[in-house]
């Protein structure tokens, strides 16, 4: 294919990615170093109310935004260097906590709280997703052929459902006097309040994630199981390998590339976890890195969006993604050079 034809074919896609992915990355990078805010001025206002004999007057200094001729707010943009990063990282509060030797205090700062949760969340769900996915794939592979269609249908439901809705459907089983909580209370004869307990919410969020992603792992592993070499399996049996050994030495090595693939996709997606926080309304207890950026971007009570701090937190989130991506990129690079 000539370069010109190639260019004509890919141009629309490339242009869209440049405008809506590459360009925003540049603006986010720039915005993280500057702050745009309305110009405010302080005015002395004297307010008088009618009183007996003489008026009661009070003077106070009010801060109000400066308006231009058209009635719009005047804004200024300043380059502030690393200020937004310092605020997001909470360096000042961190310094205090360290000086006092109160290590746990660091986890009260939003960013570190989010990082702690996102990392635990990602690393704990990873083995569970792979284990459950593999177990379902093997169980389905053993099941009768006529059952496979319906079983795959039901298994796909948690994966296909809107993430926020999926999280909500589990939340309604547990929050308040949800039936599962009620059953647990009856069984353990104690009072359980899931919605007010950070750890309980954390476990529920992980449970939701495993429930949501395991079908994906299952479908991939199931496809891989169809291509296991039957001859190798038979030779393993002749050599006296039992079921467990066959699984360990024949099937799992065969699935290894797929396991790595699922693991990498899961790492990327779990690191971007966001819908869990919305679905479980866990912002008071547990937040994720992506939710932190989202929260900074939503207007606060005064209607202002903290664009600069959001950009800084977005850039910090990206650092993590880049670290996660390096092994994947190295592998693709090796494959490409191996082939050509």
């Amino acid at each position: 294919m000539k370069f010109r034809t190639f260019a004509a074919f890919v141009a629309p896609s490339i242009v869209m990615m440049l405008i809506f992915i590459a360009f925003p990355l540049v603006t986010v990078f720039l915005n993280s170093f500057r702050i745009t805010q309305p110009v405010v001025e302080q005015v002395e206002v004297e307010t008088c109310t009618a009183g007996f004999l003489e008026q009661t007057c009070t003077t106070e200094i009010k801060t109000q935004p400066v308006l231009d001729a058209a009635g719009n707010q005047v804004t200024t943009t300043e380059w502030v260097g690393w200020l937004s990063y310092e605020r997001v990282l909470g360096l000042a509060a961190m310094g205090e906590a360290l000086a006092e030797g109160a290590w746990a205090g660091i986890l009260n700062i939003d960013f570190w709280k989010a990082l702690r949760f996102t990392l635990t969340f990602t690393l704990i769900t990873l083995p569970l997703v792979i284990g459950l996915g593999l177990a379902i794939a093997i169980a389905v592979n053993n099941a009768a052929r006529s059952l496979k269609g319906p079983v795959i249908f039901v298994s796909l439901l948690p994966f296909i459902i809107t993430p926020v809705i999926g999280a909500l459907s589990i939340r309604w089983l547990f929050y308040g006097d949800g039936i599962v909580t009620a059953l647990l209370e009856q069984w353990l004869a104690t009072d359980i309040s899931v919605a007010a307990n950070g750890w309980a919410i954390e476990i529920l969020m992980m449970f939701y994630r495993v429930w949501h992603v395991a079908p994906f792992a299952f479908v991939i592993f199931y496809a891989g199981l169809q291509t296991v070499n039957q001859d190798t399996l038979e030779s393993a049996i002749i050599d006296g390998a039992n079921r467990w050994e066959r699984l360990k030495y024949v099937i799992v090595p065969h699935l290894m590339p797929l396991i790595i693939f699922v693991a990498l996709i899961h790492l990327m997606d779990a690191y971007r976890a966001f819908e869990e926080v919305v679905g479980f309304s866990s912002q008071a207890y547990r937040i994720t890195l992506q939710w932190l950026t989202y929260d900074l971007l939503t207007p606060d009570d005064a209607g202002n969006r903290a664009i600069s701090r959001a950009s800084a937190s977005a850039m910090l989130t990206m650092v993590g993604i880049v670290i996660l991506l390096i092994p994947l990129l190295r592998r693709t690079w090796r494959d490409h050079h191996g082939k050509s």
């Binding site: 992915i21 099941a143 296909i160 089983l173 039936i179 009620a182 038979e234 664009i307």
Partner: protein
């Protein structure tokens, strides 16, 4: 094909395996089924601590909304009949009545007509028939199962959820069409070109695929909100404010989805032998003609699969739509957040449940119809590469 004897499993293991599978199926389906059950009950029943009361709904029945055995029987017959029509007769009628090139349109019209007909028959005609029958059948006509559709009526009619539904449809339809048009062109070129440039484009797309969406939205927001001022020098007075525009959100979602789309379509294009377009080229086609008339007709399975995943991305999105659309253009998924955030009474909560079930129902149908394509799409990327 019979399994060799040595591979057969002992009974205990087989039982354990089926037991585990049954457990997983219960785990997978239960939360979804349960919210579907809850959405039809009055608040007292829906949030009852006793599961049996949630299912039978005594309070809902006491309020006068209940089904008798007769209702259930007739309803089941009717459901079975309509499922039969949908599976057997509908494809035949659609195939007969539509001209060859317009099969997709024919199916859309057919599906909409079927849905309307079903709703009219089920909720309009059936009650009219059942009411007099119930009066004469005695015990069979007494309500046994509490069931009410009032929350759906409240959500869809009183709270105008249909507006969010229309917005969702606009956004998803736009995203699917544009991302497939742009994506097939790029995917085809990337599959056929072995140049270093194509490789680098794919690598960069892979990096873009991993970016958290909030990072990108942080880049759009200030630009979109001030777009009227920014674009004024170019477009003059009519410069639009992009914030809150469904079109802008469509463009954003298409772009976010583009890396994934071109990777997936590329892997489908690679399965089509290059000899096919070479033959067309020998016969005098240009590259574009070969693409349009030779390759696309055999690419439909891949296009449908990729389209499904674009649909899911656009339909399920919360983050981008909730930040970039204003309240009046809001799609369904962010709109539901409004329900459970303001949940003050239990009625509000059940309405939130009903809204959630409404959002899930189309997805349920989608998996039913396109199960095979979804599975093939999931494995396309993984097994080969």
């Amino acid at each position: 094909m019979s399994t060799p004897r040595a591979m057969r499993m002992p009974l205990g293991l087989r039982l354990a395996s089926s037991g585990f599978l049954a457990f997983w199926l219960l785990l997978a389906a239960f939360p979804i089924l349960w919210i579907a059950v809850m959405s039809f009950k009055s608040p007292v029943d829906a949030f009852s601590a006793n599961p049996w009361e949630v299912i039978t709904g005594p309070q809902t029945r006491a309020d006068g909304a209940g089904l008798s055995l007769l209702d259930i029987g007739l309803g089941a017959v009717m459901l079975w009949l309509s499922a039969r029509i949908a599976m057997r007769s509908l494809p035949r009628i659609v195939a007969q009545l539509t001209p060859p090139g317009l099969l997709v349109v024919g199916w859309l019209v057919g599906a909409v007509l079927f849905a309307v007909g079903f709703l009219v028959a089920f909720f309009g005609l059936l009650p009219l028939v059942v009411a007099p029958l119930e009066a004469v059948t005695g015990p069979l006509g007494r309500p046994v199962l509490g069931l009410t559709t009032e929350h759906y009526v409240a959500v869809w009619v009183d709270n105008a959820f249909y507006r969010n539904f229309i917005n969702s449809m606009i956004v998803t339809a736009g995203v699917v069409t544009i991302s497939l048009t742009v994506g097939t062109l790029a995917g085809y070129a990337l599959a056929r070109s072995g140049s270093a440039l194509a490789f680098w484009i794919l690598i960069i797309a892979l990096v873009f695929r991993a970016l958290p969406h909030s990072v990108l939205v942080a880049g759009y927001l200030p630009v979109f909100i001030n777009s009227a001022q920014i674009l004024e020098p170019i477009l003059g007075e009519n410069a639009p404010t992009l914030y809150g525009q469904p079109l802008a959100v469509i463009a954003v979602l298409v772009s976010i989805n583009q890396p994934f789309t071109i990777w997936m379509l590329r892997s489908f294009f690679q399965n089509i032998p290059a000899e096919l377009d070479e033959a067309a080229r020998v016969d005098g086609c240009t590259h574009f003609q070969a693409f349009r008339w030779i390759i696309m007709p055999v690419m439909w399975p891949g296009v449908i699969t990729t389209g499904l995943f674009s649909f899911l991305l656009a339909y399920n999105d919360f983050l981008v739509t909730s930040l970039l659309l204003d309240a009046q253009n809001q799609t369904m998924v962010p709109a539901i957040a409004g329900y459970f955030n303001r949940e003050t009474t239990t009625t509000d909560q059940v309405e939130a449940v009903a809204a959630a079930v409404s959002i899930t129902a189309p997805l349920f149908l989608l998996v039913m119809i396109f199960q095979r394509q979804i599975v093939s799409g999931l494995t396309a990327g993984a097994v080969k590469g």
